[in-house]
């Protein structure tokens, strides 16, 4: 562990031998294609299937009314507070909503026939933002008892105390900061191959699932099919980023069709379907207020958010956390008091609010506080690094109880930011910036020193649909000393086949090359809640270490038996068991494994295996210090990210190369969010970003060069001290980019522009400032 071992899964992927959902076919398999609504809000007057059914090869056309006959027209959303339509019944609530499903003998016939399903709509006025929604002039959800678009109010902290502290502050800033609606847009879209075997009565689902066990339970609860009759296989996944956590209508329609028809049914969504109907992220409109003394000591933080949840409350958050872990909004700073509240609203937009490479709204919170601190530094005329250093939670304050209810596990924020400032040459950059400003050139330096809350989570607080958010590992050591390791998680590119093997290898003294890692098959893997929200290493990684330690305990007894010593006299040293103080009298784990099957200890079971379900005592709190350096062309609005340094502290590092890969990928996504990406809707409710010509994914040509480094403050409560890192770069980088651009534009008096910072927006801001 701690070595940059090459990823075991990569030879398979780089040779094109990965097996993704779309690679699977079954004899007699048919295809499903969906009919989508062109209207964002409309009553369905009539659905005429006649022309579609007349197409040779079409087997069936399903509508919401057909599903209602099987009690499948609506399904519960993940946290159980709302339900969502599978196929529209009565009316459509967002553009591209699924209205019908066509089952046909080929993908092409299904798609062509879907065009022939004639749906007559009666258009209704749409609601396209939370501020319009909260007026309740148009009520969107006829099905709900409460005739309001308001979904819920959530708050945490001390309102009166915070208001009083803000009122008493020498300096305050207040800004509406919008984290735009964006989309995880994994390169592999979502899909399913559903196979109900009439002979066995067993439903097998090959599914693009980040959480196969949770999906199996949901399928069982919704359909009434016993869980032992449901087998979910999540094969290789081409990126998830939270998009493959929810249950989508295409899954339900395909599975229902397979159950009814008794034949395999496959559905793989198009890019447009992925961008327009599956789980979006963010769409938080945050009013951020910070108070401070005139010498720059923060006094209070208040954030009030309007959240656009779309047509259904389908945000994939733990049950008790409707706004996810947004309470991390105090960030890395020691606020004496804080308060945050959030109101969520329905709109005529696609449902979602998934944790896009983010631990349940941590990205929104980090962006709010990091932009807020930058605005405060500007107002105080103080260097933003100095403001941060002045207000960081100090190393000796850990474990640190935050004013909004978290207990941060560990950190040394001062050390990490100082390292970043030194590495990037901060003082020299500021001198260069001053010289450039003299010449009228726009150069900016942006800092983001974020703290995340990840690793959901402790069972006393965290569940999804009642299922506690533990995770699991099962390890079987074979007689010859190789092993199979199964976990309740599911890699979508994170490299679990390598890093899980490295954890077990470190704990057991085995060769990681000889530890096969298997995930994603509910028939074989132990029950777990899956991979998202940076929870795999904090939870399943801990389970792997603990299962390994259970094996090691048993192995110690076998070693004592073989060494003819008392168990208490046998110790684990240098990856071997030895009689205490006698390194020459030692046995390897391979030797013990063989004995476990050939010469077991008299008082123990044969074999060498263990399962562990890990219930974390707390979340983990990775953090980082990121610095972006940009040049802005005021004539064109073009922003050149000249340098970007990311220093991450994720505690103990299992594989530095894998971590670096995660950082590179996440920074690239953060760059895209900051400069390119938005799922925008016009006033008529049209989704304007329905494909990769309108929703941009950066290529290597646009992507800046990333500089990375790390510090290490291990988590004190995690078995190996690891904290999780996969989401840090996506969480922390948008604020660094935006802060850098705003710093560049500060001579023009520009203080805030909402993302994405497109050339047009930057150019308009420059032009407006110049002409004003």
């Amino acid at each position: 562990m701690g070595h940059s071992m090459k990823r075991k899964e990569d030879p398979r992927f780089i040779r094109g031998h990965g097996r993704y959902l779309d690679d699977f076919t079954l004899p007699g398999m048919v295809w499903m294609s969906l009919v989508h609504s062109p209207y964002p809000h409309a009553r369905i007057v009539k659905i005429d299937k006649t022309a579609a059914l007349a197409v040779p090869g079409v087997i069936a056309v399903l509508t919401g009314e057909d599903l209602a006959a099987h009690n499948l027209a609506w399904v519960p959303t993940f946290h159980g507070y709302d339900k969502q339509m599978v196929l529209a019944v009565g009316k459509v609530l967002y553009q591209y909503q699924e209205v019908a499903g066509v089952i046909a003998s080929s993908r092409e016939i299904a798609q062509d026939a879907a065009e022939l399903v004639d749906v007559e709509y009666e258009p209704l006025d749409p609601v396209t933002n939370p501020f319009q929604s909260r007026e309740d002039k148009i009520i969107l959800r006829d099905d709900r008892e409460n005739k309001t678009n308001h979904i819920y109010h959530w708050e945490v902290g001390k309102r009166e105390e915070t208001d009083a502290a803000l009122a008493a502050s020498d300096v305050t800033i207040k800004e509406r900061i919008v984290f735009q609606r964006c989309h995880p847009a994994p390169l592999e879209p979502c899909g399913i191959l559903a196979d109900m075997n009439p002979a066995t009565g067993r439903l097998t689902l090959w599914l693009t699932s980040q959480a196969p066990h949770a999906h199996r339970t949901v399928v069982s609860l919704v359909t009434g099919i016993p869980e032992d009759k449901i087998h979910i296989i999540s094969p290789d996944i081409g990126g998830g980023f939270g998009n493959k956590v929810p249950v989508y209508p295409g899954y339900v329609v395909s599975a229902a069709a397979s159950v009814v028809l008794g034949i395999p049914v496959k559905w793989v969504e198009t890019r447009t379907e992925n961008l327009t109907t599956t789980g979006f992220a963010r769409d938080y409109h945050m009013d951020v207020e910070i108070g401070a003394t005139k010498d720059g000591r923060v006094t209070a933080l208040k954030v009030a958010t309007a959240a656009d949840h779309g047509a259904f409350d389908a945000a994939a958050d733990p049950t008790k956390y409707p706004a996810g872990l947004f309470g991390i909004v105090t960030g890395s700073y020691d606020f004496p008091t804080a308060f945050t509240e959030l109101d969520a609203y329905f709109t005529n937009k696609a449902p979602g609010g998934v944790a896009y490479r983010c631990s349940f709204r941590v990205t929104e919170a980090s962006f709010a506080i990091e932009r807020g601190m930058e605005l405060l530094a500007r107002k105080l005329n103080m260097d933003p690094s100095e403001l941060r250093l002045k207000n960081f939670v100090k190393k000796e304050q850990f474990p640190y109880p935050s004013p909004l209810g978290f207990v941060y596990d560990s950190g040394d924020y001062h050390m990490t930011l100082r390292k970043a400032l030194d590495m990037i040459g901060y003082d020299d950059l500021r001198k260069e910036q001053a010289e450039k400003r003299e010449r009228g050139e726009l150069m900016g330096i942006g800092i983001s020193t974020f703290t995340e809350a990840v690793g959901a989570g402790p069972s006393k607080h965290f569940d999804i649909m009642g299922i506690k958010m533990f995770d699991s590992a099962e390890i079987r050591v074979h007689p010859t000393g190789s092993a199979i390791l199964r976990a309740g998680t599911k890699s979508q590119g994170q490299g679990h086949e390598t890093t899980w093997a490295q954890i077990a290898a470190e704990e057991l003294g085995l060769d990681p090359q000889n530890i096969m890692v298997e995930e994603g098959d509910t028939d074989t893997a132990p029950y777990g809640l899956g991979t998202y929200a940076s929870r795999s290493t904090p939870v399943a990684g801990a389970a792997i270490a603990m299962a390994s330690r259970k094996i090691r305990e048993k192995a110690r007894k076998i070693a004592a038996h073989l060494l003819e010593a008392a168990v208490d006299d046998v110790e684990w040293a240098n990856y071997k068991f030895q009689v205490k103080g006698q390194p020459d009298n030692a046995l390897t784990m391979q030797q013990i494994a063989f004995a476990a099957y050939t010469n077991p200890a008299p008082d123990s079971e044969p074999g060498l295996e263990a399962t562990f379900y890990y219930d974390p005592p707390n979340l983990t709190f990775p953090y980082g210090a990121y610095i972006a350096v940009v040049d802005v062309d005021r004539e064109t609005g073009a922003v050149k990210v000249r340098r970007f340094l990311a220093i991450d502290d994720c505690g103990t590092v299992i594989n530095p190369m894998v971590v670096e890969g995660q950082i590179h990928g996440g920074l690239t996504e953060g760059f895209a969010i900051a400069f390119m990406q938005e799922i925008a809707y016009d006033e008529q409710g049209n989704n304007l970003n329905t494909n990769f010509t309108d929703y941009l994914v950066p290529t290597s040509l646009e992507t800046p060069h990333w500089e990375t480094s790390s510090t290490c403050t291990p988590s004190p409560h995690h078995p190996i001290g690891a904290k999780g890192v996969g989401e840090s770069p996506n969480v922390g980088s948008p604020a660094a980019f935006v802060n850098a651009v705003m710093d560049a534009l500060s001579p023009l008096g520009v203080t805030h522009i909402d993302m994405p910072l497109t050339r047009e927006k930057v150019w308009r801001a420059c032009r407006q400032a110049t002409t004003a």
């Binding site: 062109p38 209207y39 553009q95 447009t272 008529q684 049209n686 329905t690 494909n691």
Partner: protein, 155 residues
């Protein structure tokens, strides 16, 4: 996405001739560009299959066109609804028709279009160019069909 257009066209033909021409669904269908098929449903209505190519949105759209001549013969309203490939286009238009002293006829027209679905994502400028092409081609065809030279040709 909503788009609005208006303009004035002068046609070198009498008001009666123009009125008679533009209130006939078959004539309108014949003058619209890119029409692959058209079916006159009744004296005021026709269906058309139109080849559409707006940016990446390409394919056959089906439209239902209703002509609504106003009493007095001075104004014609028109509604076009339809779409394809998940897109919906609704267009309403109206033209005030008057005789000129030189015997020609002037149409003061105004139309607004509402677009939903993929076609709405293409971008206003691309759609704008296409819409202007459709309008100008249609009027050019109307003029050509009603010009004295055309009228002189044997049927």
């Amino acid at each position: 996405m909503n788009l609005e257009y208006s303009g004035t066209e002068n046609i070198p033909a009498s008001k009666d001739a123009v009125w008679s021409f533009i209130t006939d669904p078959a004539n309108i269908a014949a003058c619209m560009p890119d029409v692959l098929e058209s079916t006159v449903v009744d004296p005021r209505t026709f269906d058309a299959v139109v080849q559409v190519a707006v940016g990446p949105v390409r394919g056959k759209f089906k439209f239902h066109v209703v002509l609504d001549p106003q009493p007095g013969g001075d104004r014609l309203n028109m509604k076009i609804g339809g779409g394809g490939f998940g897109s919906v286009v609704d267009l309403t238009a109206g033209a005030d028709i008057r005789s000129e002293s030189d015997g020609s006829t002037t149409l003061d027209w105004k139309g607004s279009a509402s677009m939903r679905g993929p076609v709405a994502t293409v971008g206003g400028r691309v759609i704008d160019a296409q819409a202007k092409r459709v309008i100008s081609t249609t009027f050019a065809n109307v003029k050509a069909r009603l010009s004295p030279a055309a009228a002189a040709k044997p049927a």
